[in-house]
């Protein structure tokens, strides 16, 4: 590109200094070295508009309505408010593309996406956005369709944007992590691909996100960020390799082990025996992961594995931050029937929320408004003391049918005992 038509970028140039890789240098390479004049022009005007933002401390993108044929979402439309000054990037939409579960790629797959993207788009891409999408940043309205048609042919589909089921995210999990208590990969694809129609055609009160973590370390931040968090856990004893543990004590010393492991257990369920072996009161273990994280060679999750499901996590707007609440303390996910159960649960939750949520109200906000009990009754889930941090502190409640509810509880417990014995 002719040097004279390049926008000066004195402020952005400052971001080419320093040792961390610079995204500005990357955009400049698209401007100066790419073989397509279209890509050069888009990069130049994008840099021009970004410099203008840096100078004036304001953003200049506006939303709008852009979609691909047959879908109602998946594109983040961006039209420039200063498009006259920067015409070649005046339409600069993002395509949200669903990643493979676990965010695995081959270099061949990435190259194929790069080839399509430089043909139709700006050449800028992020792996991944905060919801987990591949973000192809910057295509004109027309090329949005062209790019989607091309990559959809070889197996990629759009994610969610707007009031719909959104793209999901799952951790590396069973593919590479010894803490994994579930098949995150399968849960992720089973859940989100059951709702493909709700991903592509926004018709819900607001966004709905699934996130799947294989263990309570919750590397996918699901409790704080997902409407439905599915987290791997176990309910029998932690598996202990006493030889590995003793070797660790021998290497680190008793004081280190007491200070860093024994006394850090939040429910005080660990004891260091005189012979340096370890004793665990598993009934009081809350699966906090600390000992497993510190000495992965000595401790492993138990063998009776499954998932906990928490509902209603979200960030600030509108009523403030909410974490998810336990709705299913434990369920097995082994056979097809188990997977049908979790899909059915997700369907009941989304249906109930679609019927009862207000416009722009996340599932967790609805629960806050109507109370957990109304929500549980709506989705046909029984109450469980694992759902609470503590019982009610306020006496301001009507309890006319206490006896009935108490009878229900004992009947349920009897049933559970009988079916466990059977």
């Amino acid at each position: 590109m002719d040097k004279n038509s390049q926008h000066p970028t004195p402020m952005l140039d400052e971001l080419e200094n320093g040792p961390w890789p610079s995204f500005i240098s990357g955009i400049k390479n698209l401007r100066d070295q790419h073989s397509s004049e279209r890509v050069n022009g888009v990069a130049n005007d994008l840099l021009g508009q970004l410099e203008h933002s840096y100078e004036t401390r304001k953003g200049y993108w506006k939303g709008g309505v852009v979609s691909v044929y047959g879908y109602g979402g998946g594109i983040i439309p961006r039209f420039s408010e200063v498009g006259q000054q920067f015409p070649e990037s005046k339409e600069f939409h993002t395509l949200r593309v669903q990643p493979p579960a676990g965010h695995h790629y081959t270099t061949a797959a990435l190259r194929q996406l790069a080839d399509s993207w430089e043909k139709w788009g700006s050449g800028l891409v992020t792996f991944h956005g905060q919801t987990g999408n591949i973000m192809f940043i910057g295509a004109s309205t027309e090329n949005t369709q062209n790019f989607f048609d091309e990559i959809n042919e070889y197996g990629w589909d759009l994610g969610g944007a707007g009031p719909c089921v959104r793209t999901s995210q799952s951790c590396v999990g069973a593919a590479r992590c010894e803490q994994s208590c579930a098949n995150e990969h399968k849960i992720h694809r089973t859940l989100v691909n059951n709702f493909t129609d709700d991903v592509h055609r926004p018709a819900l009160p607001y966004k709905f996100k699934f996130k799947i973590s294989g263990c309570p370390n919750d590397c996918m931040n699901s409790i704080e960020r997902a409407d439905m968090a599915v987290i791997g856990t176990w309910r029998d004893e932690i598996q202990v390799d006493q030889a590995e543990w003793k070797a660790y004590v021998d290497q680190k010393g008793r004081q280190h082990v007491i200070d860093n492991i024994i006394t850090r257990c939040p429910t005080n369920c660990m004891s260091l025996r005189n012979d340096d072996s370890i004793e665990i009161d598993d009934r009081n273990c809350v699966k906090c992961m600390h000992c497993l994280n510190v000495v992965p060679a000595a401790f492993s999750p138990g063998e009776d594995r499954g998932v906990s499901v928490l509902i209603g996590g979200k960030r600030t707007l509108k009523i403030g931050d909410l974490m998810g609440t336990v709705v299913i303390p434990f369920m097995k996910l082994e056979n097809d029937e188990d997977y049908e159960k979790i899909v059915d649960l997700a369907e009941r939750i989304i249906d109930f929320w679609a019927d009862n949520g207000l416009e722009h109200e996340r599932c967790g906000e609805m629960i806050e408004r109507i109370g957990l009990i109304n929500f549980l009754e709506g989705i046909e889930v029984d109450v469980d003391p694992n759902m609470i941090a503590n019982p009610r502190e306020s006496s301001y409640v009507r309890m006319d049918n206490w006896d009935e509810e108490a009878i229900k509880w004992f009947a349920r417990k009897r049933e559970e005992k009988q079916s466990a014995a059977a």
Binding site: G59, D157, D259, R315
Partner: protein
Amino acid sequence: MAKKKMRQPVESGCPDGFQYMHPVMVSNFGQWQKHDHPRPGVLRHFAHSGDQIWTVRAGTQRILDVFTLRKLCDIGDKYADGHVRFTIRSNIEYMVSDEEKVAPLIDALESAGFIVGGTANSVAMISHTQGWLHCDIPGTDASGVVKAMMDELIDEFRNCNMPNRVHITTSCCQVNCGGQGDIAINVQHTKPPKINHDLVSNVCERPSVVARCPVAAIRPAQVNGKPTLEVDEKKCICCGACYPPCPPMQINDPEHTKLAIWVGGNHSNARGKPTFQKLVASGVPNNPPRWPEATAIVKRILKVYKEDARDWERLNDWVERIGWPRFFELCDLPFTKFHIDNWRGARKSLNSSTHIRF
């Protein structure tokens, strides 16, 4: 003219990751035994079968141009096995089944300008949002803040000298798409929106804008005979919730849009339950292109945490042990009336005991 025939989409949804996964990970799926951490940026996982897989993690600029993406692919083909994955914090990971490949792979990444690290108790890559580059409501840039900050924190990314891992996040508005972090640098608006009354009735669906306000400060009004909206500025908490559905209610301001710093967000269930981040500093200038004031505060907090926290204490664990008064004292940050929460449920955040450290 004949109408262009449109292609029907194939609603394939989320792709199967197994087709891209490293073969050692496929054959040992669900059969991993343990891992260790031979050096910063490198993980070694052992499978029950006796197989091992080595992972090398590297930080990038996150906003990747196709040249950089292909450079990462070239390294993957030449020095690794052609399989990569990305972490939730947008680092790239190369998996190799042979220890011999690890050192040349690290050299190749570093000589191409990528930063190997981000594992275990390091300062991880800052997770961030879109900012001025692409968002429609940003008060600041995201990639720029992160680039400037990572330039200063790079040694903490490359090494594992922190008491536990440190996750830093940034967000360019109070929606906080960056999420929870041990340290979060987020936009905080300090003045009510400036309304362009000529545009409101054409651009905004007024009842839904009224409904968006968390404090019911917006009401319908008439200005110069036109239907519009007005804001009760005494009630307004300057959150910016009205701006996305109604762009003529401009919340961003070159002077009055500030940055605030929050600490102690932790998504993990490790040791304690997950926690939300808490406000510690505000009024920090939104100062492009390098935001030095925000970085200085982050570095100060990190320094104190590194010196004072015990092994394995995340930032929230550490503050819980030493107490908030000492946190403000050690970090030399002012404690103001704005630190005391008054949103719903706020009394639970007050000290109703005589547990006081002197």
